[in-house]
Amino acid sequence: MNDTNGRRRFLRSAAMATGALAAPSLLRAQTSSTPDDTGVSLPSSNAAGTASSSVDLLSGSTHPKFVNALPNPLDLANRYRPTGLSGLLPHYQLRLREFSTRIGLVSPSGTPLSTTLWGYATPLQTTPASPGRSFVVAAGLPIRVSYVNELIGTDGAALPHRLGVDTSLMWANPGNLGGTAPVPLVAHRHGGAQDTAADGLPDGWSTPDANRNGSPDLKGRLYSASYTYGNDQEAAHLWYHDHALGVTRLNVYMGLAGHYFIRDANEAYLWLRGMLPAPPYEVPLVIQDRMFTSTGQLHYPSQDLENPAAPAVSHLPEFFGDFILVNGVPWPTHPVEPRPYRLRVLNGSDSRFYDLRFATAAGSAVPFSQVGTDLGLMNAPVALAHLVLAPGERADLVVDFSAFKGQTVRVTNSAPTPYPDGDPVDAATAGQIMTFQVQRPLNPLVPKARLPAYLRPLRPMLPVPSTAGVPVRKLMLLEGSDAFGRLQTLLGTVNPAAGNPASSAYGTFFYSDPVTENVKLGSTEVWEIYNTTVDAHPVHLHLVDFRVVNRQGFSGTVIPKPMGPNGSTTGGYLTQVSLSGSARPAEANEAGRKDTVTAYPGEVTRILVQFARAGEYVWHCHILSHEDHEMMRRFVVAP
C-alpha cells in the first residue's frame, strides 16, 4: 500500500512472497475512464463496437450548475399509478423504452441539448421517465409488477445496445448473437424480500417481443413475466434497477433505475405527531455520475488505452463521470422552507462513493441527522457532520434548514476515486452535488417536524446484533487479472481450517462456478468478508436484510489461483489470515437494517444475516463495473 497509484493489492508483500499476481493489470488502469476536463477528445467506440472513433465531450467543470430545478420523485405526478388489477392485486405494467429528453444540459454556447435515455412508461403514464417514477406502497399489501422490454426501433426491430457491449465478459448474450443482440433487460428490486422468480436476478433478463408472438423473443433462465412483491417488510427505501448479466452497468447508465418506497404505520405515527417531515418536506435524491458527449449523449468509456491486449470494446475497472445528476438533472437546485426536510438519499452511481456535507456558501456546516439505513428506521437519530454513501446504499436523513433562512446550502462531495485512497475528487465537478435555496416562506399551517429520541414507537427495538453461537462463513474480495490482463474483480471463500490453506474448494470463483454459499433455510450466519484489495467495495446481498456487526484489520497471504480455460484468469486463495487489533464496532449510522455494506481494504467486515426465504439469489459488489466482471456469486437458501 506504499503507492496508492500502483494498483491494487492490499496484501501486496504477501502476494509477492508467494509468486505474485501479474503486475501490469494491477496498475491503475481506469485512467481512460476518467473524464478529461480540458475539452480534449477522448477515444471512444460506437454501439456496434468498432474501435477508435473519437468523441468530443462536454466539460463538467465549465457546465452551468445549480440552475436546473430538482424534480421531487414523491410528487404525485412522479409516482406510479396502478395500471389495472392482476387477480386481486394492483398491477403495474412498466414499459421500458428509449426516448429523448432535455435533462438540463447545455452546449458551451448555451444551447439546450437533448439526451437519449432508457426509461419507464406505463399505459397510464405514457411519457417515459428516467430515473423511473417512484413506487409508493403500503407495508403488507402485495402488488404485481410487469417490466416489459420495449427497446424497439421505429422499424419494429429490437434495438442493439446504445453503449459498447464487452462481449468478452460473462454476459447474458441473448441467443448467442453477440454485441448486436437485442438488449437484455431485467429489473431487480434492491432491498426486497422476494421469491427468486420476483427478484430480478441477472439471469432473469428478456429481450423485446419484436416478433410479436406475445412473449419476449429471448429470455434468460430465470425470466418471469410478472413479479409479485409482498411488501411484507418495514417502511424503507428500496429501489429498482436493471441487473442483466454482464451489462448491468450499461443498462443502469442508460437510465434504468428508480425509487421504491414502502410506508408503514410506524412511519405514519411519526408523521402525524410531527416527528418526521412528511411530503412535500420529504425529498428523495438519487445521485449518479455521468459523462456526456458534446451533443448531449451519454458517454461510457470502453477503451482500455493502457492495455493493448484488451478487446476493442472493453470493460474498465471503474467508471467515474464528471457530471453529477440528482434525480436525473445535472447539479440541480431546490427551493426549501426554513424547516427540517427528510432527504432519502440513494447512491445510484456505477463506482463512485460520496462523502457528503451540507454547508452554507459562507462555509458554515449544516448539521444533519440520519434516521434510517438501507431498509428502515434506526432506533434513534444519529447526528452526523458528513455521510459516506457507497454505490447501492441509501440513507434516510433529516436536514434542518431553519437557521439558514435566505441562504444557499450546498451539498458537496469529498470522496476520493476509487474510495477511500484513490485520487482526490475534482472540486469543480463531482465535488459538487446540488444546492438548497432556503428562500420559500415557512408554511405556518404545517408545524416543523421535531425528531423524537426514539424512532420505532410501533416497531420492536432493533437489538444489538449478537453473534454468540452463530456459525461463521469466511468470504473474500480479491482483485486478480483476467485473460486479457485486465483487473479481474472476484469474490471467493476462505478455508476456515487452521492456517487457511489453499485448496481448490476455496478461493476465488466465477459467477458460473458451483454455488459455495449454500445456506439452510431459517438459519442465521455471520458472514466475514475479507477485503484483500486496496479499495472499498460495497457488498450487497439480495433477499435479506442484515446487521453490520464490526470490522477488524487483518493480514494474510494471497496465493495465486489459476482460473478459467487454461488458467488464463488469475484469482487467489487467502491463506494464513491473522487478525490485528481489536474489532471496530459498526458505525453509528449503520445501526439499522442494511442490504449493502462497505468492506474497507485490509479489513474483515462482519455482518449478521438471517435467511428466511428459500431460493437462488446473488451477492455481489455493488460497484456495477465490478459486478459485471465476475464480482458476483450466487447463493442458495434451501430447507
Binding site: S168, N173, N176, R221, S504, S512, D513, P514, M563
Partner: protein, 208 residues
C-alpha cells in the same frame, strides 16, 4: 468470443463432495451422486412455444467420427428433435434420454425421418467414448446422435438455444423440435411425451 464457459465447475464439485472424480480420459465411471436439480416446472405439464434460433457457427464432436459443423447437421428440411444432456447426470437426463428412446421406438419404421440430437452440456467430462457408451445404454439408432465439443462451442450452442445456465447441475428438461419442412423450432419445457414430440416433428402425419 462470447462469455467464458463454466470450466472449473464440475471438477470442483467433484472434489468438494469427494467423488471418484472422472478425469478427461477416464472410462465411464460409476454415476456420481445425483446433483441434478429437478425444477418445480418439470413436474407440471410441458409448455411449448415457437422460437427463432440463430445457430452459431461452431463445430461439434459426434460420439463417432470427425467433428462436424452444427449448421450442416441441421440445414436440411428433415424433422429434428434436439435435447441437452450429460452422461453423469442421474435425474433429468436419463428420463430425457428415455423419452428419446421411446420416441425412436414409437416412430418404428419412420425413425429415419426424424434426426435426433443429444448435445452434452458437460464437454469437460463427456468424451466421445463416454457418449458412445451412453448411446448404447439407451439403444440409440443411427439417426440419434450424441455430440460434445469445446467449452466455447457448447457454451455458444446453449446460449443460441437459450438454455444456458451457470452450471450444468441446475439444468432443466428442454426439447427443441424442428418440424419437417419448416424453419421454425418448437421449444418444449418440461418432460414431453413421445407422442407429443412426434406430433410436433411430423405435424402432417398426425398423432399415431
Amino acid at each position: 468470443m462470447t462469455g467464458r464457459p463454466s470450466l472449473p465447475g464440475a471438477a470442483l464439485a467433484c472434489c468438494l463432495l469427494a467423488w471418484p472424480c472422472a478425469g478427461q480420459a477416464a472410462p465411464l465411471a460409476e454415476p456420481p451422486p445425483d446433483l441434478c436439480v429437478a425444477p418445480a416446472t418439470a413436474t407440471g405439464a410441458p409448455s411449448a412455444e415457437t422460437v427463432t434460433l440463430h445457430l452459431p457457427d461452431v463445430r461439434l464432436q459426434p460420439a463417432q467420427g470427425a467433428s462436424v459443423s452444427l449448421g450442416s447437421q441441421l440445414r436440411s428440411s428433415e424433422a429434428v428433435l434436439l435435447n441437452f444432456i450429460y452422461t453423469s447426470c442421474t435425474s433429468i437426463c436419463p428420463p430425457m434420454a428415455q423419452i428419446f428412446a421411446a420416441t425412436q421406438e414409437r416412430l418404428g419404421s419412420r425413425a429415419a425421418q426424424v434426426q435426433m440430437l443429444s448435445i452434452s452440456i458437460d464437454p469437460e467430462h463427456d468424451s466421445p467414448r463416454r457418449l458412445q457408451a451412453y448411446a448404447r445404454r439407451f439403444g440409440a439408432g443411427t439417426q440419434w446422435r450424441f455430440f460434445t465439443g469445446s467449452l466455447q462451442a457448447i457454451d455458444a450452442v446453449q446460449r443460441a438455444f437459450s438454455v444456458w445456465r451457470p452450471d450444468k447441475m441446475s439444468h432443466t428438461p428442454v426439447t427443441f423440435i424442428k418440424p419437417r419442412g419448416q424453419s421454425h423450432w418448437w421449444r418444449v419445457d418440461g418432460f414431453a411425451t413421445p407422442d407429443q414430440l412426434i406430433a410436433l416433428a411430423l405435424p402432417e402425419a398426425g398423432a399415431p
